[in-house]
């Protein structure tokens, strides 16, 4: 790997009996957008919070910009910027005050001009608004702007679009893509497939505290054979094995009451399936066709869906 700015080796973290992170390893290069994709509770946030110096690991080796967060948290914090998942600002703090206040915590030569940040994140009109008066999207834009006040080497965005409506989500994507063009190193956690595919150079798929797959979205999808996903709901249950043997079907499995079929020849597979069902007196309730995505990789590896 060219120039890793962030390295994690065998990271372990437990909360009481809950083993949140179980031996996670990865490294991130300078200028890379690296995604941690996984369902809620997979250990993404715990991992990122250890990297940010908010939590201490039980074991494992961590290096961010050459610093171990557990050993030199203060030096580390000068180098990073973060938009945390569950965070807030005082209700009566104004937008501009927040940017200036957080800028003041960093060395002078690193501080970004708060006016530029306001403009860039479309918050000029809200400069004197209280934090409590902002909409969800505006709060998130402010959170991203605040992560940039010290022109950080590494950015951490923990679920940056969680709970936002689709239009606002696209706005945030545009911002992150712009940062990517500026060659910022970004570590992003998400449980949205679209986000990981669209924004990330490389993705680590995390489940139950472990990295189960790692690579560029293209590599990962190639791994699953690039098959089209056909999702059907049936009137009566059907044995997986029967569906698997149909013409054009590469793989079939039951996920949450639906059948997920992967196929390289979708038209043939659908025709074969309809005939098969008719012969059995069964019926299609719904049918959905999706181009291959990281969701398929996840289903293939875990037998479960990624969304909640």
């Amino acid at each position: 790997m060219a120039n890793p700015v962030l390295e994690v080796e065998n990271l372990v973290k437990s909360y009481g009996d809950v083993r949140a992170v179980r031996g996670v390893s990865f490294s991130v290069c300078e200028g890379e957008v690296f995604g941690l994709l996984g369902p809620n509770g997979a250990g993404k946030t715990s991992t990122v919070e250890i990297l940010e110096g908010l939590r201490t690991a039980d074991s494992g080796r961590v290096s961010v910009c050459g610093f171990d967060p557990a050993v030199s948290p203060e030096e580390l914090k000068h180098e990073i910027g973060a938009a945390l998942q569950s965070t807030s600002l005082p209700d009566k703090l104004r937008v501009m005050e927040a940017l200036k206040l957080f800028g003041s915590f960093y060395r002078h030569h690193r501080r970004r001009n708060p006016e530029d940040l306001l403009r860039r994140f479309g918050l000029e009109e809200k400069r004197n608004a209280f934090y409590s008066q902002l909409s969800g999207g505006q709060k998130q834009r402010l959170a991203l702007a605040m992560a940039l006040v010290n022109d950080p080497k590494v950015l951490f965005f923990d679920e940056p679009t969680s709970g936002l409506d689709p239009q606002v989500r696209r706005e945030i994507y545009d911002i992150i893509e712009e940062l990517r063009r500026e060659n910022k190193t970004i570590v992003l956690t998400t449980h949205y497939i679209e986000e990981a595919e669209r924004l990330c150079d490389r993705v680590a798929i995390i489940d139950h505290g472990q990295v189960i797959a790692l690579g560029s979205p293209r590599e990962l999808k190639a791994h699953s054979g690039g098959a089209t996903r056909i999702e059907v709901r049936l009137a009566k249950p059907e044995a997986n094995g029967d569906l698997k043997t149909l013409e054009g079907v590469a793989d079939a499995r039951e996920v949450d009451g639906a059948y997920v079929i992967h196929s390289h020849r979708p038209p043939q597979a659908i025709v074969a399936m309809v005939k098969h069902l008719e012969a059995r007196g069964n019926e299609l309730v719904s049918l959905e066709i999706a181009t291959p995505s990281l969701e398929d990789v996840f289903i293939e590896l875990t037998g479960r869906r990624l969304r909640d």
Binding site: K77, L84, S86, T87, L89, K92, E97, F102
Partner: protein, 297 residues
Amino acid sequence: MRNFGSLTRMRIALTLRNRMFLFFSVVMPFAFFFLYAGVFAKSNPYAVRFFLGPILSLTVMGSFWGLSAALVTFREQGILRRFHVTPVTAGDMLASSVVANFILIMPTVILQFLFARFLFHVTDFGNLGVAFVLLAAGTISFAALGLVVASVTNTMQETQVINQLLWLPLIFLSGATFPLAFLPAVAQKFALFLPATYLVEGLRHSIFDPGASAWDARVAFGSLVFWAVLTFFLSVQLFRWEPESKVPRRAKLLVAATAIPFLLLGIWENSYGHIPQQASAAFESLTTAGHHSTPQK
């Protein structure tokens, strides 16, 4: 401590935008002031001067309410954790709370002196310099008490319960509301274990008793400053940034340790000190002087 200045400015700005602050730190202290000076002291300058110590003590002692509530709210809402990903330290956060509180409370204190002078015609404030030094020590030590309360409570409800439990004995058994001379002997003995008593009595002595010197204030000043340093240091050690992090068991033991200085001082004062006698003498001089001054008018 580099971030301390900007944090202090933020805290002052936020507090001034908070209506609760206006009520507890401005309306309440002046309500007390006029109740004591106008009703209890019947606007008699000599009596107003007597009550000035208790009134000012109440003003600065209230610090711990606001500070503990603000800090717990910041933690509960996940505001502290945002600061935690910056180079801000626990020391920065706590020291800025204490200093912001000090700056916000001083105008009220000064106004109360000015009201006493110009509305109630108190001309002699005894040893004013000593009074200010004691007020400063009191403001800081009761602010530090607020930090400790925040460090041993998990929720706002818990914080308010603890605050109530602290506030009632601090105001009723220290001479801040009922003069010490009024209290039964047992309560007087108990009062000597409370930091508030040393503040109230120290202030009253420096303002009211003739010939009060800086040396007289040594016990009050020394004990309050020592206590402030101890509680501040402990609060830094026990500081929690995360909303879900709970109070560790050792924290409760450590916090119990902050009571030790006044426990020891109380034992000493109960055996060798003269604080209740001094307070009673002052109160008696008030009643006799009161009888003299009213007909002379």
